[in-house]
Every structure is written in C-alpha cells, then in structure tokens.
Symmetry: C2
Subunit: 462 residues, 2 copies
C-alpha cells in the first residue's frame, strides 16, 4: 500500500510522506548541516594536496605506493575514524625505467611516447623500423598475414570527447589488444594514438595485455600532437622510420594493501555504506584526478558526517590498491568479504576526476526508491540532478561487486568532458583540480553517504 500510494501521489506529497518515514526533520537538518560544512571546507583539498605533493606518483609496488599505504592509515587516524585497517592484495608488479623515441625519416625529431602498462622492453639499444599506418584496430586486423614483418604498427584511432566519457571504451580496444594483433601480423613494436582528448604533447599510458602463444612486442602510445605529425607524414606520402627505446621490467607478483577506515554505525554497525577511490596511480603524473580526488573527497565526506553524528549504519571508506593494473585491490576486497556483501547498503566509488557531480543515480530494489528520492532531494541544492533510470554502474572498483552480487550501487555522475585531457598522463597534477568543484563533490558524497547510512529502511540491490 505504501508503494502504491507513493507512485500515485505527486512529488511534494511523496517527499513529505516518505520524509516522515525515512528521515526525521532532525535528520534532514543534520544532512543540511553536513552539506553546508562540506561545501565550505577545504579538508578534501588538504588531503589531496598532501597525497599528491608529499607522495606524488603511486605505481603499485613502488616505494611511493608503500608510503601511500602508510599515509592513508595515518590520515584516517588523524581524522578520527573509529577503525583503520589494511587488507593485502597481490598484483603483477611492473615498472617503467626508460622510454624515448624519435622519428628518423624524413627528418629526425623527438616523438613524445610512453610505454603502455605491462609492455615488454625493446632491446637495450632500441629498435629502428618503418612504420605502417592504420586508422583503426579493425584495419590492422584486416591487414594481410605477415604484412607487418619487421615493422612498427601504428593505429591513429581518435577518441571522442563526451561528458560521460563514452569515447573511452571504443578507443581503449586498441590499447587492450593492439600489440597482440600487430604481433600476429609480424610487427616488432606497436604504437597507438593516445586514448586521450588532449591536444598537448602528453602520451597516455594504461593497461595493455598479451596473449599466450603470440610474441610479446613493446606496446606504446604517442601523444596526440605526435600522432597528428605521423598522420601528416603518411598523408604526404613519406616513408616514416621511427627509433624506439623502451625499458621496463616484469617483477612478478607484488603485494599492496587496500586501506580502510570506518566510522561505526550506532544501530546496525555491521551494515555499511561503502565509498572510496583507488589509492594507486600511474607513474607519470601525481594521480591528482586519477584518483587522488576520489580518495580525498570520500575520506573528507566521511569526516564531515562524523563531525555531526554517527549514523545508524557504518560509513566505510575503502581506498583500493592496484586498480590501474587490473582492479587487484577490488578483487581482493570483494573476495575477502564475499560472505558479508549483504552488509553493504550502498556502494559508490569516485574515480572520474574532480569536475562537478551533475547527476545522482541508483541501482537498487524498488522498495529502496523512496530513500533514494529523499537523498536526491538533499542533493538538489548542490545542482545534482536525480537520474531516475536506476541503472547506475558505479566506479571500476565496484565491477567485482556487481559481478558477484546484486549490490545496491550508486553513481554520483561527474562531468567527464575534460577528464581525458589529463587521465593517465604526466599532466595529471594537483593544479588540474578546481578547489570549488572538489568541495561540491565532497558535499555530494557526504549527503549521499550520510542518508544511505541513516535511513530507516536498509537499502538493498535489485
């Protein structure tokens, strides 16, 4: 009956009715207080500044990664979290030592390029070979057998810019499997246009893969202006020769740690809202947008809540390890906690930079929607729209959760229009984060988290 009434009634009527049920006026007042505190606080900025400045890049397995794990525990403790602990995660430990490249013919000029994650090295002295140009991965796949023998394959696929980053998926295919497909045709190295919307000379790194039985060849991405340069040389009919030196190392299995901080719930402490980001970053930049911002703003959001109250359920901030190398921290977390995933009443990861949150979306059972609508109402003052589709997919570290359970997943959609100008490049540094936008993100996470943790109804997944 309650549900029928809700769907028939007008918005204002629903709100006030559910309001009375899910949240007391005092609770709503507390939410407003937290929202106000978060939007005016520089706490998330301070945390982000500390992480990106005093530690910097955090490639899993490096000394800086270890420092980041120490740093995160110390931060959680300093912020007064009730519980702080770590949980191990293993991952394939890979390192970049050197990368350099030049166009040799028709004239010598440096090529801004980076090894893709997992790439093997060239011989110590590098390699020099003619380049074969393709517009797309499919074009390369369609090339004749053996046609790339002794050559360097280059794919110039151009990523589209979009608010939701929908250009990334199509572009990333060439990063995932380009080196394999090139090697199948006999190529001795692989270059691709960066999976990036930037028009600056920063090459974009990111995970890449080999396939058993196919020769592992060095896999690289060139900065977009350099990809343009190569494309122009081909257009003008030049034979293009490139020299390439990549030195990396596969160090076998490494171990890092998910770092977890929790404010305990007062009524159902075993139930919890899971928010967080990933603590690791690629080695090129300082991981400010990816994903220092997610780390900082979820830590700060939880702290702002605790300044006002401990909600009914726990607020757990999980800083995942080794996301960039393949969600290794997330896999370990959800494996370790597989028996108690029902305790997760809401899960959201911030891992899409630090531009404004423009939309709020759930992925929950129908009887949880009244709570969701109440949360949406309290997000509205932050210019966050309620997206009613109820098909939220959450951040990458929630993929293992979605794969194993029907968990209640939430998305606080960020504007990703410019995200891929910086993502996975040396240019992902603190100055790219707008302090005002970071505050808005923090406030949105604080409101969502507090309400999901403090609602009368336990939110459950579909």
């Amino acid at each position: 009956m309650k549900k029928l009434f809700s769907t028939l009634c007008l918005v204002s009527c629903i709100s006030s009715t559910v309001h009375a049920q899910e949240f007391s006026p005092e609770q709503i007042q507390q939410v407003a207080q937290v929202r106000e505190a978060a939007i005016n606080s520089d706490l998330s900025w301070q945390i982000l500044e500390s992480l990106t400045t005093e530690i910097g890049p955090r490639l899993p397995g490096t000394e800086n990664d270890k420092k980041a794990v120490e740093w995160a525990q110390a931060q959680f403790k300093a912020l007064g979290f009730d519980q702080v602990w770590i949980e191990p995660a293993t991952f394939p430990h890979w390192r970049r030592y050197h990368e350099s490249a030049s166009i040799i013919t028709p004239s010598e000029q440096p090529l801004h390029l980076t090894a893709l994650g997992n790439s093997v090295s060239t011989p110590k002295s590098g390699i020099q070979a003619d380049v074969v140009f393709f517009e797309t991965l499919d074009e390369l796949i369609a090339s004749p057998e053996g046609s790339l023998k002794g050559k360097i394959a280059f794919i110039n696929y151009r990523m589209n810019r979009h608010i939701d980053g929908n250009g990334y998926g199509p572009a990333v295919k060439a990063r995932n499997s380009g080196a394999v497909e090139a090697a199948k045709k006999g190529a001795i190295a692989y270059m691709m246009r960066s999976v990036s919307t930037s028009h600056h000379r920063f090459a974009h790194t990111g995970g890449s893969h080999y396939k058993t039985g196919v020769t592992k060849i060095p896999a690289t991405a060139v900065a977009n202006p350099d990809a343009d340069q190569l494309a122009r040389l081909f257009k003008n009919g030049h034979k293009v020769q490139v020299k390439l030196n990549i030195q990396t190392e596969d160090l076998g299995e490494g171990t890092s740690y998910n770092v977890i901080g929790q404010f305990n719930g007062t009524q159902y402490p075993e139930q919890y809202v899971l928010i967080g980001g990933h603590l690791d970053s690629w080695d090129l930049g300082t991981g400010a947008l990816d994903d220092g911002a997610g780390v900082a703003l979820t830590m700060a959001a939880a702290k702002h809540i605790s300044d006002v109250k401990r909600p009914k359920r726990s607020v757990r901030v999980v800083l995942f390890a080794a996301e960039e190398l393949g969600l290794w921290g997330a896999k370990a977390y959800f494996k370790r906690h597989e028996k108690t995933l029902d305790n997760i009443v809401a899960a959201a990861e911030s891992d899409f930079g630090a531009d404004v949150v423009y939309g709020f979306e759930s992925n929950v059972s129908a009887d949880a929607l009244p709570v969701v609508r109440e949360i949406a109402k309290q997000l509205a003052p932050l210019n966050v729209k309620y997206i009613r589709k109820n098909t939220a997919r959450g951040g990458p570290d929630l993929i293992p959760l979605k794969n194993t359970t029907s968990a209640p997943i939430f998305a606080l959609h960020q504007d990703g229009t410019d995200y891929f100008d910086y993502h996975h490049t040396a240019d992902d540094t603190l100055d790219k984060v707008d302090p005002k936008k970071l505050q808005q993100n923090t406030a949105a996470y604080a409101v969502f988290t507090m309400m999901a943790a403090d609602a009368k109804t336990k939110i459950s997944g579909k």
Copy 2:
C-alpha cells in the same frame, strides 16, 4: 600645405585626398583583391605544415637547420620569387643531449625540467643536492655570500599573462642571469620556474648567459606544475632534495644562413619592404608558433601580392637564422647591408605566434603618415585597428636595424595572450595554430606590404 590641410581636415576628407595622391583607385582595388585572396587561401598553412612536419625542430647548427635552409630556398623558388639567395651568419653552436631530474626527498618523483640554452652539463652521473627556494631573482641576489654553497638554487617567479606579452620581460631576467647570481653565492646548479603562462608540464627553454670569472653551473627551467609542487613542499616545511642530470655540448662557432626571397619592384627595385620571421627554432617543439608561423605567413603574403602585380618597390622576405641563440642572423643581415639600409621603405617581422593581428602601428617620419593611414584603412576590414602612437618596435630581428638607423619600422600587433603557453616548449606544434587566424595574419601582412611597396611616397623613418 599638404600636411597642414591633412591635419585640419576630417578623417574622410584626409582619406579621399591622400587616396588620390598615394594610391589610385586601381591600386586600392588591387589591394582588396590581394586581401581577399589571402583571407581565403590556405597557402600559409601549407607552408607552415610542410616546415613543421617534414623538418620539425630547427636548432641552429643541426642537420634539421641545414634542411630548413634548403627547404626555404626550394619554397621561395616554387612560389616564383624573382630572386632567392642565402647569406651566412655565425653563432655559438650549442646542443642538448639529455636532461632528467627527480625530486628525491621527501619522496621520489620525476621533475619535468629542461636545460636553458647555453647551459653547461652536470657531471655524467648527475648531481644531487638540497634546493634553496626564492620567490624572485632579487631575493636570491640578496641572500648571504656563500649561503648556496653546494646547493641548487630555485627561483619561483611567476610570469603574468597579457595580450602584449608584457610579463615576459620581468620574468626573463631570472633566465638571463639567474645562473650567474646563483653561482656567485656558491650554488652548484640553478633551476627556475618556466618563463611561461602554461599550466601544463612543459618546461620552457630559452637563452641564458654566463659571466667571465663566475663558475658556469647547469641552468634549467622546471615546468610550472613542477614549480608549484616544489613551492608546496617548501611551504609545508620539507627539506627538498633534487637529482639532476643535464648533458649538453658547446660546439664552438657554427654557421647557418639567412634565406632571402624577393619579388623585384617595377619602378624602384633597389628599394624594398622587408618582412619575414626567423627560420630557426628551439629543439623541443617543432617551432610552429615560434616562428614557423612568421616564416609561412610572410612568404605567403608576398606570393599573394605577386599573383596580382609587382609593386613599384621590391618585396623582400628575410628568414633570419639563429634568432633563438641571440639574433645572429639579424646581426649578420643588417651588418652586411649597412650601407644600403636606406633602401628599406618599411620593415616588419612576425615573431609572436599566430593569433589574430589586432593592431597596426608605424614608426615613421611625419610625411609618411598619410601613407600609413591609407594602409590602416585597408587593414580595417580585417579587424585590425590603427594604433596612432607611431612608436612601433617591430620583431626581435629588427633590433639590430633600430640600433643602427632610423628605419621605418612597423608592427602588426598580434594577440599574445596565449603565446607563452607554448613558446619555447615541446608543445609548440602545428595543432596550436588556428588556420583562420593564420589567414588573417597573412592577409594583414599582404595588405601592409603591398601598399608600403606601391605607395607614391617612399616611406622613411623618423
């Protein structure tokens, strides 16, 4: 009487009067034809694309510099210039081989940095030392004797953004003499914030100098986000240690060539309008904005004029050599032609990127002002305003001309607001040039050059 009448009369009356005197209706019609052709042509873009793509960086003395000299002669000939020739210029030949740097404490992270032109090398194994922070060059100069012994000095002076680039002068002081002042206090290396308005991780190179009797120490500039990072570390009270490896070489005296193309005048061929840019560039980028654009648009402007007619006087395009290392081509040119500088009826260099020309300014004798006003009238349709101050300074390669004579100098002022985002960095590449804006520049140069060459009155300097 003519002059008195002009100054008393209203603008429209001046214009029509002078019009009748300086340019026939047919000439004005020809100017319009050239303007129209230039604004609709992609010739300057084609030239710029060829130079920056097929040759790329053009550091004086390199193989690419030689190729550029060949390229320029071939281009001039292909464009149908009546005369094409080269004139030698010597310069101090310097090369950059390697540069790398990291922050070591409080945590290791790469530092994006570049050697300043003329910098000496570090030892092969690099140097590692504590960094001492200064906000300004004056602050460093005021530091106690011996206070930098064994240290690396760092100046964080921040360049201002301005349409006329007026932030460059104050900022460049630390590039010119920072290493000398640091060495005087005992420093073993010098780092400065880039003379740049960029917020990307590109370090800005450029000329630097040593002083006899003062130890030559490696001189470098760090990218602005890296300078911010250093500044934050100092602000937070950290002891900052940096590792630095710079490998360069002083190769003694080198020789390059000014490349000159001329369309001969029909009536006074010995008199000429001098336009041009510099053919060399720094080695980091492809010298698209600095100064491929100036080269391309002045070559194209002359060609567009010649498509319509040969003016009374010659149009000479001078592509100066080795500007970046100290105006060596310009010094050689004006020295070589010192007896005939009176033949220059107007001189303008384009060396400030490729953003729109917003203002036109002369530096001429009073009796040449009627011609100038006529030119300004024909520039107005290109949204170029007439700046009446008559104090134009022209481009850097005209400095030796101004120093030796009262030459008639012109400035086609470009919007330089964003110029220092790219100038002297690896990011100075073709994609930073807007083809529409390049056309507007080309048209402005074509109009100015044609009219100065075809006026009844010979323009002379003050």
